[in-house]
Structures are given as C-alpha cells and as structure tokens.
C-alpha cells in the first residue's frame, strides 16, 4: 500500500524553477495525490482490497507473536484437525499449520513485494526511457520487452531456478523480477509515447529543459498511477509464481512460505490422507491476497483510464456532467481489470 501512495507523491522540483511556480507545481501534484487517494478509497471494492491487504501486512509483521508455537517444532499430535490447541490442525509430523501459515506470510510477501519493486524499477527505466528516447534505442528496448512478454515465464523461471545453487530470498527476488518486468514496461512505454506529444512536455522542451529533468518532473509524475498498477499486477504474478516454484520443490524447502507448505502437504500426500486443513489455508491465503490486489487495481484503473470517463461525459453532455455525473457513474462504469486500454 505504501508503494501506491508513494506512487503519486509529489516529485521534487528542480532549482531552475522559480519559487512561486514550484509552489504551484507542488500543490498540483499534492492535489493529484489527494484525488487519486480519494478515488481509491471511494469504491467499496477497492476499500475492501486495501483492508484485506493491510491485515496480511500486519500478519507479516507480527505473525510470530500471534501464535507463539514454532512452525518447525514437531509434536506427538499427528494429523489432527483444527482445534483450540492447534487452530488449523497439525501436519503429519505434528507441526502446527497455523504457525507455519503465520510465519510463511512474511517470506511470501517479502519476496513478492521485493520482486515487484525491482521489476517496477526495471520497467520504469526501460518503458519510460524507451518511450521517450524513441529512435533505434527505443525500438530495441520495446522489442526486448515484447520478447519477454511472449516468452512463457514459468518454464524460464524453472530453468533458471533449476541451475541456481543458492535458492534464498534474494536470488528468488531477482529471478522473479527478471521474468516479470515486461508487462509494466510495455504499458509504461505506451503511456510515455502519448505523453511526449502533449503540450506541457513540448513546452518544457522548447524552454530548453534537459531531457532527464523532463523525464523526472514532467513525465514520471504522470505515469506513476500506471506504474503503481503494474507494481500491483507484478506482486500477484510474483506470489503465484513463487508458490508454484516452491510447490515443485525448486525453492528453499526449509524456509516457511505458503508455497513450501503446499510442497510438504503434497509430498506427504495430505490429499490422500484427507488432511484438508493442511493444503486449503495456504492456497486460500494466496487467493485472498491476489484478490485484494486485483481489487486495488480496479481502483487504480478507475483513476487512470480516461477513456471510460470521457465517453461517460460525452454521452451526458460535457459541461454539466463534469463533476456530479462522473462521480455517480464512476463506480459502475469505469472499474476494469486492465490498464492496457490507455496505451492503445
């Protein structure tokens, strides 16, 4: 969540701009942020998503304190269903499932958010850089991201992870980032291409601003919601891919994560033993976090996708509709799953 709010935060304005103008620019970007946040929390769906995600983030932070049992400690209570002693039952070796779930939340979320952060930085560099520079360099970068988009990620991740001698968190983050940046880069590039032809960018160019300054203070703030959406999307990708890898036994099976739990459940044939309390909770958690993130993305889309809003306005008469009708219609008309329409 912090990443999203950080996404639309004011961008420092350089020294060459006068203080009055700087003040106006800062206020403008703060207004943008307030608008962004208000729209995000306005929709019931998005709000629900934020709440669910917050709960999981709190579990990731304080999980081990909620349930003091050690996730790896074995006991005589083997394969027991949920009870007051063991909230989610026990495994075949008498380990506490709830403790594993709480402990695994931290690693799962840490790796997913870490991978998404690295992937978003790569996407920003390649997407914005490629989109703004244009020319042969831009084409090559675009080609590269399209390539990585088409190459199926999981087989590549599996081959990469299969060769890795060290399967800890950092290498996992890097592998996931390497395979997950392309989608973000593509939508960012599309947005940058349309931005660089807008008047305010042209004006900045004519005024003789340096390229990196235009990139950082004119273009970057405008692509931030899209970058945020790409970030959220990549977190979903990272959670699912990470769990898939762990499930195949390609992760570090001694570190507790939701995927590792599923790996041990599958390897000890929890399914055949009817121990549903062993394999249902981790998958449910993955699904819940994924759903929460998707709901948040609805809200971001709602803010980003101008096409939906513009068509609403055109239909109901442009001037009168500006605020009231758009606000009323927004919850119905403009939540969407994919930001891509912006770029098309």
């Amino acid at each position: 969540m912090s990443a999203i709010s950080g996404g639309a935060a004011p961008v420092p304005v350089g020294t060459r701009v006068g203080s009055k103008k700087r003040y106006a620019a800062a206020r403008q970007s703060r207004d943008r942020f307030v608008r962004f946040w208000r729209r995000l929390t306005q929709s019931r769906k998005t709000f629900a998503g934020l709440v669910i995600l917050l709960i999981f983030l709190l579990i990731a932070l304080f999980g081990p304190w909620i349930d003091s049992q050690s996730p790896s400690a074995m006991s005589g209570a083997v394969l027991q269903g949920p009870s007051t002693a063991h909230w989610l039952g026990t495994t075949q070796t008498g380990q506490d499932v709830a403790a594993q779930l709480l402990d695994g939340t931290r690693f799962t979320l840490l790796v997913s958010f870490g991978a998404a952060a690295v992937a978003t930085v790569i996407a920003l560099i390649i997407g914005i850089g490629g989109g703004y520079l244009g020319g042969i360099g831009g084409e090559v970068l675009s080609m590269l991201s399209n390539c990585f988009l088409v190459i199926p990620a999981l087989p590549l991740v599996i081959v990469l992870a299969g060769y890795l001698p060290n399967k800890g968190g950092i290498s996992l983050i890097l592998v996931l980032a390497l395979t997950g940046w392309a989608w973000g880069a593509r939508i960012l590039r599309a947005q940058t291409l349309s931005l660089r032809r807008r008047d305010f960018v042209l004006a900045a160019r004519v005024a003789g601003e340096r390229s990196w300054r235009i990139l950082f203070s004119e273009i970057l703030p405008h692509v931030m919601p899209i970058a945020a959406s790409g970030f959220v999307f990549t977190v979903i990708f990272a959670i699912v891919t990470q769990s898939s890898l762990a499930f195949l036994g390609l992760g570090d099976v001694t570190t507790w994560s939701w995927g590792t739990m599923l790996y041990w459940a599958q390897n000890n044939s929890a399914l055949g033993l009817g121990a549903w309390w062993w394999f249902v909770p981790p998958g449910l958690c993955i699904g819940l976090v994924g759903m929460a993130l998707a709901l948040i993305n609805f809200g971001i889309d709602d803010f980003v996708n101008p096409r939906l809003r513009v068509t609403d306005l055109r239909r109901r008469g442009r001037r009168a509709a500006r605020l009231s009708v758009a606000e009323v219609l927004a919850p119905h008309a403009s939540d969407s799953a994919v930001v891509e329409a912006v770029g098309k």
Partner: protein, 326 residues
C-alpha cells in the same frame, strides 16, 4: 501484408532471443551441473551423444564462445536436443514428442473454450453495467488469483477423494490401448474432465473482465447511439455493433493470456499426473535432467510463439485497420 511481415520478423527475432537465452543460462550460472551429471553417467554415454551434449551445454571449454554458439545452433537445426537422463537413453526430442500432444489437446481446447465462454459472458455483463451479474465480478477475480494447481488439488480432493466420481491421475485408463476406439476416447475424456474444468474456471475471468470493460467503453461510442437511433434490435446492436468492436483487444492480448495458461497447465499436469509436457518438466526438474528441462523450455516457447502468430493472423482477418495499415 506489411503488418503480417512485421509480426513474422518479430516472432523470428523473439525465437532467436529465446534460444539464445537458453544457450546462455547454463554457461552463466556458477558451476555447470551438466559436468557432474555426465560424470555420473560416464561410460554409458556414446561419444556421439557426448559431442551433442557438449554442443548444447558448452562443455567444450577449449572452444570460444562463438564457436560454441554456432555448434549449439547446428545441433538445434538438426533437431538434436541431446538425451534425457530421466528416460536414459531416450532422446529429448522423442520424450517431448510423446508428451506434447496431450498438453496441446488439453490446453488448446480449454483455452478456446474459456475464450469463447468468457467473451460471451463478458459481452452480456458489459451490456448492462451495474446489474446483478456485474456484482459477481469480485468473485471471478478471486478465482483468477488463486493458483491453478491449488484449485486442482481441491477439485481432486472433492471429486476423486470424497465423491469418487472421477479418476485420480493419468490421461487414460491403463487397461485400454491408445487408438481411435470408443473405450479409449471415453476413458481419455473421463480423465480430462477435472483438469479441463479447473483450467477453464481459472482462466475464464481474464477474458470475461477484459471483454466487459471493452464493451462498456464501446457502448459509449457514437455509432452505438446511431444504431439505437436507427431502431435496430438490441441483439443486433450488442452483437454486430458492440461485441464486434470490443472483441479486438481480447484477441490482441492473447500473448499474455497464453503465457499464463501454459504456466498454469504445467502445474496442473503435476497435480493430476497428466502425462503432458508439464508433468515431464516436473520429472526433469526433480531428477536434475538439464537437457530435458531446456529442451522443454525451448519447445514450449516455440509453441507459444506459433500460437501468438496465429492469433495475430486472426486479428488481421478481423480488423480492417490492421490490414490497411500498409
């Protein structure tokens, strides 16, 4: 035509990049595991196989990188992917050839089915945004967020474990032999129901949400208003004016969807012990069978590229703007 040519060039280039990645991965990773693998099998590998493995995995340290690169391409162009250590001494290409049809039929049919149903439902939901159906959307996002393999586990637990309605594993009953006989087809269908249903349920919301969104956008266009003004029937407006335009981005996004479907089906096959390419990949991974792993990555990538190319071709047939771009 120019569009098609450009796409062809793109896919050829992507294939070259993918194959080059495949070439560099074992060479860039610290400590080449192929060396140890070969040491384990030393004496049982013929000199000719050894030479091809050398070319594919870069054990010829005396040769330069370029020399290795060309030797790698030469081996690939001869259809030589090395030998599998899991199914020693069967050739990798043979192992893949035996398992690929299962995956192609299962994943191919499910993707088409999911696309058709998802798009149709999305079209209806998008026609009346804010209706009862529209409120079910968060539920579909839940289904799209959970990993396919976990949904498969649950399906297996309920329908095979508790209810004993459907078989637990495999693609057909071991008592029937493969062929165009009724008993084989019935058995294959019986075994395919669970994996297919899981795949369709997990993928459908992707198409549904996109179609709904595009439908909402399209309905705001002036030509819809004109069609309404002309007094055309609602069905005609929805199908011929709305859906016809809204469906294009769905086809254009085939690339991304297919990557996810392939990814998901690999794990589904592991869950259902379905003898497709994902299951073989799992075995290759568990046995550290690097030639088989890389061979599968290569073939899966090429198949995905081919499917994307076909989707692009459909796009040209459907969208006159893409045709006229030349």
């Amino acid at each position: 035509m120019v569009y098609l040519l450009r796409r062809t060039v793109f896919y050829v280039l992507t294939a070259i990049i993918a194959l080059s990645i495949n070439f560099f991965i074992p060479r860039l990773m610290p400590g080449n595991p192929i060396d140890s693998l070969l040491a384990r099998f030393s004496g049982r590998v013929t000199p000719r196989t050894l030479a091809s493995l050398n070319a594919l995995f870069g054990l010829q340290h005396h040769e330069g990188l370029w020399g290795q690169y060309f030797a790698y391409w030469r081996a690939l162009l001869h259809g030589n992917l090395g030998i599998s250590f899991t199914y020693f001494p069967t050739a990798v290409s043979h192992v893949i050839g035996a398992s690929l049809p299962w995956t192609l039929v299962l994943v191919g049919l499910c993707t088409v089915l999911s696309f058709i149903v998802g798009t149709a439902v999305g079209c209806i939901v998008g026609w009346k945004p804010g209706s009862f159906l529209d409120n079910l959307l968060p539920l579909t996002t839940f289904f799209s967020s959970i990993p396919y393999f976990w949904l498969g586990l649950i399906a297996l637990f309920v329908f095979s474990g508790l209810l004993h309605w459907l078989p637990v594993s495999g693609a057909y009953d071991s008592s029937v032999s493969i062929g165009w006989t009724w008993s084989f087809i019935a058995s294959a269908l019986d075994h395919a129901i669970l994996p297919a249903a899981t795949l369709v349920i997990s993928t459908i919301s992707f198409w549904l949400l996109r179609m709904r969104n595009m439908m909402v956008t399209t309905l705001g266009e002036d030509y819809i208003l004109l069609a309404e003004a002309k007094g055309l029937s609602r069905m005609r407006i929805m199908a011929m004016y709305g859906a016809r335009n809204a469906i294009l981005p769905n086809i254009a996004s085939f690339a991304m969807a297919l990557g996810f479907v392939v990814t998901g089906s690999i794990l589904l096959e592991v869950v259902f012990s379905y003898p497709g390419i994902g299951f073989v990949l799992y075995q290759a991974v568990s046995n550290e069978d690097y030639p088989l792993m890389q061979g599968i990555f290569l073939v899966v990538t090429l198949v995905v590229l081919l499917a994307n190319f076909l989707a692009d071709f459909c796009y040209i047939l459907l969208d006159p703007r893409a045709r006229d771009e030349a």
